[in-house]
């Protein structure tokens, strides 16, 4: 029996159809799921009140208690909302870098109705303070949240994490050493 051309090409056609279908499903999935995948909502699990002159500010934390190096969301919500108000946040504590000491109060990227810091970690254990300076319709006000305790970092010691993570570098150096010893580049001239 002679093979028919359409049967010969059928597997290729089916494969192509399968690939096109998979690509379409993947593309559709990414497009429709895009907004959901791009960010997660801010979930505040602990809050503190701060009196900054005439303003009352609610400071929210998405993780409590706080541990060193563990990033979390901070929200700063003045009573009456942030409209018409501005200010600065001054952070003090053992893990605060000099360029992070003072910063303007800006909207939280995932909770735009309040000010905040997104996925921010405090990188050393100890006691921290958050000082707020707020300007608004009722004038200027300042207040400080004191005694925010940051516990030791979770997980294994940092040295162990670095040791495991430096293995690719160790491997690369070992490869270079082996290649160097086998080719002995010092013994050869190089023509340019």
């Amino acid at each position: 029996m002679n093979p028919r051309p359409d049967k010969t090409h059928r597997p290729t056609t089916r494969l192509r159809q399968l690939l096109v279908t998979l690509a379409a499903i993947l593309t559709l999935g990414i497009i429709t799921a895009g907004p959901a995948l791009a960010f997660t909502p801010v979930d505040i699990v602990h809050a503190e009140q701060v009196k900054a002159g005439p303003y009352t500010l609610t400071v929210g934390f998405s993780v409590w208690p706080i541990r060193a190096m563990q990033s979390l969301d901070f929200t700063f919500a003045p009573d009456g909302g942030i409209a018409g108000k501005s200010g600065t946040l001054t952070m003090d504590g053992p893990g605060v870098k000099p360029d992070e000491h003072v910063r303007p109060l800006v909207r939280h990227p995932r909770k735009l109705e309040v000010w905040g810091l997104d996925v921010k970690s405090l990188n050393a254990p100890g006691t921290y303070t958050f000082t707020f300076a707020i300007d608004g319709p009722q004038g200027h006000g300042e207040g400080t949240l004191t005694g925010v305790q940051v516990l030791d970092q979770p997980g294994p010691p940092l040295g162990l994490s670095w040791a495991v993570s430096s293995l690719p570098f160790v491997g690369l150096v070992a490869f270079l050493v082996i290649a160097w010893r086998r080719t002995r580049p010092r013994q050869h001239t190089l023509t340019l």
């Binding site: 990414i30 895009g34 791009a38 960010f39 940092l158 491997g171 340019l192």
Partner: protein, 387 residues
């Protein structure tokens, strides 16, 4: 005198190791080009994905494991890894069938897993980098589950991921270096070296928590720019290689300068997120760190190479001079670049002096190493290999 590897200098893999200058079969030639360019494509996608991701964090912020820029990062390594695996399987198949395998296709074949596989060295390296990326991706997922979605470059798993990507990019350069006598191999070197040059300084973020007088990423930029510029120029068979590499780096920088903010803003608009409040007018972060004046260093390298050729010197003799000149130029033009592009930056004279000194020392060291690494890379395939 063209250096060729001494017999048995690198362990060979049975009959496939036969060095032959004869043209290999047409399908091997096609596979050689397809493999090399697919690995390169993966590294290019990774670079675009990282630049986009960094800009997303700077200008927009919210993050999960599955943002589109992350998917670009992952897919880049996946593409390079799969292409590397296919090339290793092709080489293994050829070796088992007793067919010759040209060393211009990925470099010297080496035995892997006791001879179960025969892997051209370049594809072995790029594949190991991609596999390492996969493993450290899992570690990164665990890290984020423990520490949260810290948008920092210098966490241990992130540094390991950057190292893994850099290893894949090293593999890509090795693959093109093995085919340096072919037109596509030369074209590949001119584009693969700038990709590696862009990426390697990112790894030096590992030292950013140390109290150093200068940002370690700047030092990494100086060292790797000089090292890779010289290696690339020395591997290419004609004068002008350094200029070509610098021009491609400039084109890549210009593209990323436009692409990264555009992609971040477009994706933000797509998912309905605004840009962060209080953004300062800084240049795009990843292209902003690429050496804008590398062309000057390239001219210096070409001049030193010209002197070497006209005096019939061993290429290694003046390599430290080429490296020191390139390192100094890159180091001194970094503050100029920052002054021109970043209104928020300021470099004090003491930092400039430290950068200049570091540029000389790191540059000279890079020159010494570049000479040796060039010889090692030339040993991957004989000078006359063609396919």
């Amino acid at each position: 005198m063209e250096f060729t590897a001494p017999s048995g200098a690198i362990r060979r893999a049975g009959p496939t190791s036969t060095t032959s200058n004869a043209a290999v079969h047409a399908d091997q030639g096609l596979a050689a080009r397809a493999g090399a360019w697919t690995v390169f494509l993966g590294t290019l996608i990774t670079t675009l994905g990282l630049s986009w991701d960094v800009q997303w964090h700077v200008e927009v912020g919210p993050d999960t494991f599955f943002t589109l820029s992350h998917l670009a990062l992952y897919s880049g390594s996946a593409i390079s890894g799969i292409a590397s695996l296919v090339m290793v399987l092709l080489a293994t198949s050829a070796q088992r069938a007793g067919r010759p395998w040209d060393r211009a296709i990925g470099g010297t074949p080496v035995r892997v897993f006791g001879g179960a596989f025969t892997a051209p060295l370049g594809y072995l390296i790029s594949g190991v980098g991609a596999a390492s990326f996969l493993l450290y991706g899992l570690l990164d997922l665990w890290w984020h589950s423990l520490y949260g979605f810290d948008a920092v470059l210098n966490s241990p798993p992130h540094v390991a991921l950057f190292l893994s990507i850099s290893i894949t990019m090293v593999g890509s350069v090795i693959v093109f270096a093995a085919a340096r006598n072919l037109r596509w191999g030369q074209a590949g070197l001119v584009v693969a070296v700038p990709i590696l040059m862009t990426f390697t300084p990112i790894v030096t973020n590992a030292f950013s928590a140390l109290p150093l007088p200068v940002d370690p990423v700047l030092l990494g930029t100086v060292f790797f720019s000089a090292l890779l510029l010289i290696i690339g120029a020395a591997l290419l068979p004609r004068p002008g290689g350094a200029i070509g590499i610098a021009v491609v780096l400039g084109a890549l920088q210009a593209f990323l300068w436009w692409f990264s903010p555009w992609a971040a803003h477009t994706y933000a608009a797509f998912v309905g997120l605004p840009l962060r409040d209080g953004l300062t007018p800084q240049p795009p972060q990843l292209p902003g760190g690429m050496p804008m004046f590398l062309i000057l260093a390239a001219i210096a390298v070409e001049l030193v190479f010209w002197q070497t050729r006209s005096r019939h010197l061993d290429g290694k003799t003046l390599m430290p001079v080429a490296g020191a000149a390139a390192g100094l130029i890159v180091a001194l033009t970094i503050p100029l670049q920052l002054a021109l592009t970043d209104p928020t930056s300021s470099t004090d004279p003491a930092t400039v002096a430290i950068l200049a000194g570091a540029g000389l020392v790191l540059g000279a060291l890079s020159g010494v190493l570049a000479g040796r690494f060039t010889i090692m890379l030339r040993a991957l395939a004989p000078a006359g290999a063609t396919s």
